[in-house]
């Protein structure tokens, strides 16, 4: 909330003027019944034509002023609302960029996106309506009452009864129906889920001959929705009739009490009409006010949700050292008793991991899904920090290295092949901002992507759609590899990123990395034995534990888990041959 007001403060003047002008408009509206009353009392009974004309010009002026003030108010409130939303979006976007991976995992990207889009839109709407109505509507309601008192306190007592009564009716109905409408929405969501499920699983449904029972289930859900709609409809349909009755009973009371006052000579006919007019003015504004309150409560909830994201602050301290470059190229990697927990998991994702990889060597990591392979590599560029133990590059703890330097020396090919909307060249420059076309082509060549890039005929100007939708899985994967290679990193990490490539391409890729990239530390994460078997060293992961550590042949002879994996992917003869080592 504080944050929201601080944004509105930027346009302090407009934020104050908008409601004020809106109130002025309302004030002019409130004068109308009095003027009309005067026209009747003085103009008609005195048959004073010129007075009537003067008064009607006054009405005209009142209306014109109302129009001008209202337009000014609308402009100011629109300006404050849109600018508030703009600033909020900019800040939130920038803020989200600074979050750590742990925090991103905790919040979830889809949540972040809804906060950015629909929640801020709701806030914008709320601010806009708030500035327009929060003074006006109460002002009209209570203004009408006050005006009624100035006209005649006796008849105005009806307002004192009618207004609270209307408030109670309007809010009671809103409060009762709001949760009921949520139930309706929930049932609609259930219907949507069933439909989506049936559309996606139509083959299975038909294969199992379950069409009839699916139809029956849906019929029940649809009837459930109908029942809920009718139920809430019955209650919300009370709003209009009830308020109508109260307002008109108020008018009846005014006439009765007014009649007595007139009889006593304390009131005129015209003034009774004014009171009647004030009474009918209340209702419209009261309903507006009720809607405003619903809108505001929604906007506040959205603002709070946005604020929740702002409150998640990445408190991690950045290192100060530069990247510890080695003279030979590449970097040695040391894990020492590393323990790591993901927030939501009970079991640690990495448990006492210790290993050393030489600078310039190739490290293979193999194991099942969820065994901790990716977690290991994510600790190297400090996407996550170890809970205990340490990760060092060339003997320097990664936590002491400036994050920017650290990451710019590491090339990561993530598991999910993601490219961005833009040309191929733009995408490649993500790896290295000032890369020349020549360098990019070299990287594409290493990544075995040259052939298909050439076949597309647009060279580096090839347009890539959002998420790389216009490319196949294998093509995307090769380009993400090229993107990391462009950087010429000291450490190249391929996180299961050749899964969509066939074995021959995978092999050619590894060969090219070895022969064309000079001395670099390469980490190959994979589920395939063929990918890691020629690595200098292989880590076998199972359930967060390092269960095997050595070369392909060593592991074949010593590690049961590794043997099992090999047996499922290779023929018995091959395994036999590898074991003996007559390669």
């Amino acid at each position: 909330m504080k944050r929201l007001f601080s944004y509105m403060k930027v346009h302090l003047l407009e934020s104050i003027l908008a409601p004020l002008f809106k109130m002025l408009e309302a004030t002019f509206e409130l004068f109308v019944p009095i003027v009309v009353a005067n026209m009747i009392d003085r103009g008609v009974s005195g048959k004073d034509v010129s007075y009537l004309i003067r008064m009607s010009i006054l009405l005209l002026v009142l209306a014109a002023c109302g129009l001008v003030f209202s337009i000014i108010a609308q402009y100011f409130s629109a300006k404050v609302a849109t600018h508030t939303a703009q600033m909020m979006r900019d800040d939130l976007f920038a803020h989200i960029q600074t979050l750590s991976w742990r925090q991103i995992d905790g919040l979830g990207t889809s949540t972040l996106i809804t906060r950015m889009t629909s929640d801020i839109n709701t806030v914008q709407n709320g601010v806009n309506m708030f500035l327009r109505l929060f003074l006006r509507s109460p002002f009209v309601v209570f203004g009408a009452m006050i005006m009624a008192f100035t006209v005649d306190p006796h008849t105005a007592m009806t307002f004192v009864v009618a207004i609270p009564l209307l408030f109670v009716i309007v809010f009671a109905i809103l409060l009762i129906t709001m949760p009921l409408y949520r139930k309706v929405q929930k049932q609609l969501d259930a219907i949507m889920r069933s439909t989506r499920e049936n559309l996606l699983g139509v083959r299975v449904v038909r294969a199992f001959n379950r069409q009839e029972s699916e139809k029956k289930t849906f019929d029940e859900e649809a009837s459930g929705l109908y029942d809920r709609q009718i139920f809430v409809g019955k209650i919300s349909a009370l709003l209009n009739p009830l308020t109508y009755v109260v307002i008109n009973l108020g008018i009846v009371a005014i006439l009765w009490l007014g009649g007595q006052q007139v009889y006593a000579g304390a009131l005129t006919q015209g003034k009774i009409i004014a009171q009647v007019n004030y009474m009918s003015q209340i209702l419209v504004e009261l309903i507006k006010l009720a809607n405003l309150i619903i809108l505001l409560s929604r906007a506040m909830a959205s603002a709070r949700r946005v604020d929740d994201v702002f409150r998640v602050v990445n408190g991690r301290k950045d290192g100060t050292a530069g990247f510890p470059e080695s003279e030979t190229g590449g970097a040695s990697i040391d894990f020492s008793h590393v323990l790591f927990h993901y927030e939501k998991d009970a079991e640690p994702a990495l448990c006492d991991i210790t290993f050393h990889a030489d600078a310039g060597s190739t490290l293979g990591i193999i194991g099942g899904t969820g065994s901790g392979k990716s977690t290991i590599v994510n600790l190297i560029p400090r996407f996550y920090d170890a809970d205990s133990g340490s990760v060092s590059l060339n003997g320097t703890d990664v936590r002491t290295i400036r994050e920017k330097d650290l990451r710019s020396h590491i090339g990561v090919v993530p598991q999910k092949a993601v490219l961005f909307h833009g040309t191929l060249r733009e995408n490649m420059k993500w790896g290295q901002k000032d890369a020349s076309d020549q360098e990019i082509y070299e990287a594409i060549d290493i990544a075995q992507a040259k052939e298909f890039v050439d076949s597309k005929g647009d060279g580096l100007d090839l347009m890539i759609e959002q998420e790389g939708r216009n490319l196949s899985g294998g093509q995307k994967q090769r380009l993400t590899i090229a993107r990391a290679v462009v950087r010429r990193p000291d450490i190249l990490i391929l996180d299961d990123s050749a899964s969509a490539l066939d074995f021959a391409t995978d092999a050619a890729l590894r060969k090219a990395i070895r022969s064309q990239m000079g001395k670099r530390t390469v980490i190959l994460v994979s589920q395939r034995v063929s990918t890691v078997r020629s690595a200098d060293q292989i880590l076998v992961m199972d359930d967060g534990k390092l269960v095997g550590h050595g070369t392909h042949r060593e592991l074949l002879n010593t590690c049961r888990e590794y043997q099992e994996i090999c047996e499922s992917q290779m023929t018995a003869e091959e395994i036999q041959a590898d074991r003996k080592g007559d390669d």
Partner: protein, 602 residues
């Protein structure tokens, strides 16, 4: 002549559009027809409540007229009038409430019927239709479009009815009070209507720009926040922030204009209404003591009633504009719903179609030709004869058309020529239900229902006992992980198995087939997304299942391929080679190439 052509075309297109709109409205009316008595009731109630509502200002006017001045108040008359008012408002309120209720009933029933019909129809149309239309599109027809129609109908019933009746009623009442002043109102009110239209069309162009700009911002948000980890990996934060700020600024600009212009509607119509009110007040006051055409002057009470009519009269105009736009959207939505309903359903089973309770498992494909698109032949002259219990492996790169073959075997699609038969009977002469009963299918694209584990396993046989379900799960190597879940077999599975890993989902799908093992199997082997241990389990389960059953396996694993009795090598939808492992290797063709690329060590 040539130049006229496009214009003509446009005209015919336009007239066709109109035609379609007309027929859609006709269809909507047909949907309403069963509820005609209720519609009539609703109309009658609308007339009653509007008429009574309009009477009230007259009585109020009468009331004012009996309160003339000091000592000049006719209390007995006032009391009579007030009683009448109270009677009227109570009756109005009751009529209004019942009318709303009736309207709700009509609308929600129509909508429920329509939704049920569309859903049922989804299960009746051929798969080709469902494949050709995205699930998202069909979903939005069943949900959003039907909802839109419901909103339109409801507004139509409540506001259009009463709005029109109110306008007509007010004019009649006003004219009976004072024809001259009525003229002012009737002539000028449409002006406010026009102004509202003018403002809203202008605002609309900005709204379009705003939503385009908002789309740009959302796109970038989805792209950059959806892949935030990649953005951070490459240190691209600054650039994406700059791009965001640029698009955000643009959005803010259009948003301001759209919000501002659209917010002008109310003040400007209010202004015009105020002018009309002013005019009537002046004219009315003058008519209270002047009588330009002779006749009686207006009483002050009548003036009061008249002024309140002016207020009531302008309101429905605004409502009706809203209803009309809403209704236009509804007609468009209804058209999309009807389009789905009009799709022909799957042809019914032949009247002489047979039931095969338990096939031996002989499958024959005889000169089969098939294509999804008429001029793009896909499968041509395919001949396979599978003896009961044999194993067929289908290999080929991704997207080679293996699903096509599954589509034909399961009769999700019908062959164009040639025939497929099971146990010697053409499958087009077997009842669909019976044919599919003989097949067990486990696809890689696993599908589970939101529901318990138990419900999912017994999907093919809802009457299975717990023992049978557990036995099936054990055979599918799924029992142990199911028991580790919080509520075992009663654990709720989220939509599409959101709380399960890919491997676990596939094991459940296998258990589902295990529960009632049919004579013919269609299996899709896992690729790399499943972890090694689970994959080994799945393989074991597959092997158990295939024993003694005719099976078609989309194969990725070397052992499956080598052990198959026959291998179909597919590429770009064609079956290019056919034979067992040794034969194919000897052929030295595409299979050999594929085999070396995939399995030979480099």
């Amino acid at each position: 002549m040539k130049e006229q052509n496009p214009i003509e075309k446009k005209q015919t297109e336009e007239s066709r559009k109109k035609e379609r709109k007309k027929s859609t409205i006709h269809r909507i009316l047909l949907c309403i027809r069963p509820y005609l008595p209720m519609v009539i009731l609703s109309l009658a109630l609308a007339v009653i409540s509007v008429a009574l509502q309009l009477l009230v200002p007259i009585y109020i006017g009468d009331g004012v007229d009996v309160i003339v001045g000091k000592g000049q108040v006719d209390f007995p008359a006032l009391l009579r009038i007030l009683k009448k008012i109270i009677f009227c408002i109570c009756l109005t309120a009751a009529a209004q409430w019942i009318m709303n209720h009736v309207n709700n009933k009509i609308t929600y029933r129509i909508v429920r019927d329509l939704r049920v019909q569309t859903f049922h129809h989804i299960h009746d149309v051929p798969l080709s239709y469902l494949d050709a239309n995205s699930a998202g599109d069909l979903l939005s027809r069943v949900i959003t479009d039907v909802e839109q129609l419901s909103d339109g109908l409801l507004l139509g019933f409540t506001q259009l009815f009463t709005g029109v009746i109110t306008i007509i009623g007010t004019i009649i009442f006003m004219a009976s009070l004072q024809p001259l002043a009525t003229l002012i109102v009737v002539v000028f009110t449409p002006l406010s209507f026009l102004i509202a239209r003018f403002v809203s069309t202008h605002a609309f162009t900005y709204f379009k720009k705003q939503s385009a700009a908002r789309g740009d911002v959302t796109d970038l948000t989805n792209e950059m926040l959806g892949n935030l980890k990649v953005v951070q990996t490459f240190g691209h934060e600054q650039e994406s922030m700059e791009e965001f700020a640029k698009r955000n600024r643009e959005l803010s600009g259009y948003s301001l204009k759209a919000t501002f212009f659209s917010s002008l509607t109310n003040p400007s119509t209010r202004f015009l209404n105020a002018l009309i009110y002013d005019g009537v007040a002046l004219a009315g006051c003058l008519l209270c003591f002047l009588s330009p055409f002779g006749g009686a002057v207006m009483t002050i009470g009548e003036l009061t009633s008249f002024l309140s009519y002016v207020k009531q009269y302008s309101q429905p105009f605004n409502d009706i504009t809203g209803v009309l736009t809403e209704f236009q959207n509804s007609v468009a939505s209804a058209a999309r719903v009807f389009e789905l309903l009009d799709t022909a359903g799957e042809p019914a089973d032949d009247s002489d179609a047979v039931v095969i309770p338990h096939a031996r498992g002989e499958v024959t494909l005889d000169h089969v030709a098939f294509s999804y698109v008429p001029d793009k032949p896909l499968i041509e002259n395919l001949n396979i004869r599978v003896q009961p219990g044999k194993r067929i492996a289908i290999v080929g790169p991704t997207g080679c058309g293996k699903t096509t073959l599954i589509n034909l075997l399961m009769r999700f699609y019908d062959v164009n020529s040639g025939s497929i038969s099971v146990d010697g009977t053409d499958i087009r002469h077997i009842k669909r239900m019976s044919l599919r009963d003989n097949y067990g299918m486990v696809l890689q694209d696993t599908w589970l229902k939101a529901g318990t584990v138990r419900e999912n396993i017994s999907y093919g046989r809802p009457d299975a006992t717990d023992e049978e379900i557990i036995a099936a799960a054990k055979k599918a190597y799924a029992h142990s992980f199911i028991m580790r879940m919080p509520k075992g077999y009663d654990t709720e599975i989220e939509e599409n198995g959101g709380n399960l890993s890919a491997g676990q989902k596939q094991l459940l799908c296998i258990a589902r087939v295990m529960l009632h093992l049919p004579p013919i199997l269609i299996l899709d082997e896992a690729t790399s997304s499943i972890d090694t241990l689970t994959e080994i389990r799945i393989q074991k389960a597959f092997d158990d299942m295939m024993k003694g059953r005719t099976s078609f396996v989309v194969a990725h694993r070397l052992s499956t391929i080598r052990e198959a009795d026959e291998i179909l090598v597919m590429r770009d939808g064609h079956i290019i080679e056919q034979g067992n492992h040794e034969e194919l290797l000897r052929k030295n063709g595409f299979y050999k190439k594929l085999y070396t690329a995939q399995f030979e060590r480099s």
